[in-house]
Subunit: 338 residues, 2 copies
């Protein structure tokens, strides 16, 4: 982080025509962006959104309110422009890329989608490692490549999204492994399980944690055993963003589990994270707490796709506009505090 | 409110390619806007922001962290484009009008400012009625005229802002009168009082409430006795917006005190209110509770000027874009919930 740019931004905020601190998180956000971007007047115009999609073997345990086919169907919907993240990206003028890491049915070439096909989804994490070592490396590499494309295109902010029916089970199990927490603390309804469904999910997660114990001590191995292709790709993307000095706006529950994995794999990575929103998925609070995160929005969103991060982008832009364009007390001839 | 448009919007939300309810407040916001605007596909492109400014006689009691001259100085800053609300209005493409209702020093013609000059600020509400009956009527009329200009220009949303050194004391006293609450519950630091300053403010408010008792039973009379020119103008604007069917995005503490006054003067007015943010000013929670409000943002803002409402505008626009532009399950060929 650039301490000089941060100090200059902080000094500027104190001279703008408003009571000190009166713009709250919009002030701290502008100062943080200045530190991350290494310029006293930050900007968030060019945004790269990558949505990583994949299927999950744990769907054999009946852990989702939606059928597995929806993963592939939504990949087509992203590409055609009909999904929430498609609309948000368009509205924000952000670049959207869709990366298919492998679905159960396989997916013929969809225009504007990168197909990587690491396999027909992960293995069932309740009774096997979700990924082979090769699959894990390929997923991490897919994320790194996305971050590199973003940086090469001059992106000023990176947003990672995800799609994968069953992936709240993987994310919650991963979070349990990383935080040594109980499934009851981190399981939630996901896309819409009822109470018996959540109980079933808790039971599946507990079986997975029992099966993989005592191999959940290293974050990378935990990611391989109970993560998912898209979750590993997100972790790879975030690790690379931090190396490239590209700020990341973190989305909801699943993306935050990947963010936590990235921070545990390479401590310091989280310095590059901003947090878009607090999800309605109950386990998200625990993940945010583990990362010391103060998300911008609390709107009860629980969609994924990167939508909660995208929804917060206008606040970053307004924070920059206020920081860069407001008059100082001296410029405006306004008296300061008594 | 248009029940037909509301039902149509609700039905549409249930068909969009996302788990039901997964967009949280962005869904309820789109449905609410549909009901308010009387169309199944709402829109918030044309926005009218009016900032009402005036001085306060209660400044004789030493209730602010800033000198009184700042009211007039900020009026110039609004007009020149250097204030937070100026930057926000520009960034949002909103129309901004500035209405000077009367400052202590008087203010020669400032370009792009409407000068109404109801007096050199209100009287000291701790020892007199803040306004004469004529001043109250003139302030209400100024607000009504602003709402009418907005509607005539085709505005789809109205935002009222305020500027007036000392006006958190007036707003908090007004709130005490309307809610029969104690000053300790509603007084706060405003633009930056320290703890002894807040205690002094509480003492001044209590003296005012004692002085005006028992004449605080009618909301209009309460507004006249302990309000302010800009607060009365905001109430007048909101009353007229509701009559014209123009949705209002309510700002922070002072504006919400005016919104509550409007609702008490003409019950039902609040049907037309949306709430931009929860202010850092502690008394705001009590006002929001009285109005049953669920504000969109909680960012620790406490600037006024309408800035907290303006900061929430992009969320309204994103809610509309998602509602209007996402594909349905049928259109996208996506399977529905099991």
């Amino acid at each position: 982080l650039d301490a000089h740019a941060e100090a200059a931004a902080r000094a500027r905020q104190d001279q703008l025509t408003k009571p000190p601190g009166a713009l709250g998180q919009l002030e701290t956000l502008a100062i943080r962006l200045a530190a991350l971007q290494g310029r006293a007047q930050p900007q968030v115009e060019k945004i790269h959104i990558a949505v990583f999609a994949a299927d999950h073997g744990v769907m054999a345990e009946g852990v989702s309110a939606f059928p597995q086919a929806v993963t592939a169907e939504m990949i087509r919907n992203f590409a055609r422009g009909g999904a929430a993240i498609s609309v948000l990206a368009r509205t924000l003028g952000a670049r959207l890329e869709v990366i298919d890491l492998g679905t159960a049915g396989g997916l013929a070439d969809v225009p504007d989608v990168r197909h990587l096909a690491l396999g027909p989804g992960t293995a069932n994490l309740a009774q096997a490692a979700a990924m082979t070592a090769e699959q894990l490396q390929a997923a991490l590499a897919a994320g790194r490549a996305s971050a590199e494309r973003a940086a090469a295109a001059g992106a000023e902010l990176y947003i990672g999204g995800e799609m994968g029916i069953g992936n709240t089970t993987a994310a919650a199990t991963l979070a349990c492994g990383l935080l040594n927490e109980s499934p009851t603390r981190l399981a939630g309804p996901g896309s819409g399980l009822d109470a018996p469904g959540v109980n079933r999910k808790i039971e599946v997660m507990q079986r997975a944690l029992d099966f993989h114990y005592p191999n959940l001590c290293q974050p990378l191995e935990t990611l391989r055993r109970v993560g998912g292709f898209e979750i590993a790709a997100l972790a790879g993307a975030f690790l690379r963003c931090a190396q490239l000095g590209l700020p990341v706006l973190v989305d909801g529950f699943i993306v935050t589990s990947a963010a936590l994995a990235a921070e545990r794999i390479n401590p310091g990575t989280a310095e590059w994270f901003l947090y878009g929103h607090a999800s309605a998925e109950p386990g998200h609070q625990r993940l945010l707490q583990a990362l010391g995160a103060q998300p911008l929005l609390q709107l009860g969103l629980r969609l994924g796709e990167g939508s909660g991060a995208a929804a917060a982008v206008p606040l970053l832009r307004l924070a920059c506009a206020l920081h860069n364009d407001m008059a100082t007390f001296a410029e405006a001839g306004v008296s300061e505090k008594l």
